[in-house]
Symmetry: C2
Subunit: 138 residues, 2 copies
């Protein structure tokens, strides 16, 4: 067990991790209240998040730690960390550097809304930065 895990053991032990050792995490803009994204953490990701006060998630597809903003610079400085009544969901309130949480170049990942008249989904949030300019795709 790494030293961070040892340090934060009493904190981590309160959380009811799922059968894969993960917990769902909601990231919210600490100032505007906008829900920015949803991701997962394992023990190590949460310990790193607390240690660095920067969001570190666990990528289920890549099966490794995901230091949010490592490539794009769009890191999330953690302002508060909250836990729900079942101790199985976390809420991070963050300062979103660059104002862009989504890999599409938008502020929030939740950029599609349901149209109650037309019964369709529609995009209602602008692309603030071209994704090609966010990630080095060479």
């Amino acid at each position: 067990m790494s030293s961070e895990l040892e340090t934060y053991k009493p904190i981590l032990e309160r959380i009811r991790w799922d059968q894969n050792g993960l917990v769902p995490v909601i990231a919210q803009d600490a100032v505007s209240g906008t829900v920015l994204m949803f991701a997962w953490m394992n023990h190590e990701a949460l310990a790193k998040t607390i240690e660095l006060k920067r969001a570190v998630y666990f990528s289920r597809s890549r099966k490794k730690l995901w230091f949010k903003g490592e490539e794009s610079g769009h890191v999330q400085h953690v302002k508060s960390l909250r836990m729900d009544c079942d101790q199985d969901v976390l809420l991070l309130q963050v300062e979103q550097v660059g104002g862009i949480a989504c890999h599409t170049g938008r502020n929030s990942c939740f950029f599609e809304a349901y149209d109650w008249q037309a019964h369709t989904w529609f995009v209602d949030a602008p692309v603030l930065k071209n994704p090609d300019d966010i990630y080095d795709t060479k």
Copy 2:
């Protein structure tokens, strides 16, 4: 297939349901921006939510539809329904009747915060209504 499911089929088909046929849902107060709770929906719960414009979740523990507020009266009127960039998480923006989303009688389920100095969790939100007065426990 029930008639609601047929009606909302094109909407439901855009969503990437997990291996259990569920999608995670974040409920947020449409006015204050407070993240109220986190739950799950299956196809039927989402179709009912759209039809009634009231939050209907799927209870994983009881394995049935959960008409939020059915017992307590603390229903959630849906103001908007949003989907994330991976089409695998939903965000409901709601009017929370009674101002109480949590079964503990609090506004939000996220009532425990992490104390960065003491390395402990602490409760920082008041109980607005005694749970005994919310649910008929006779």
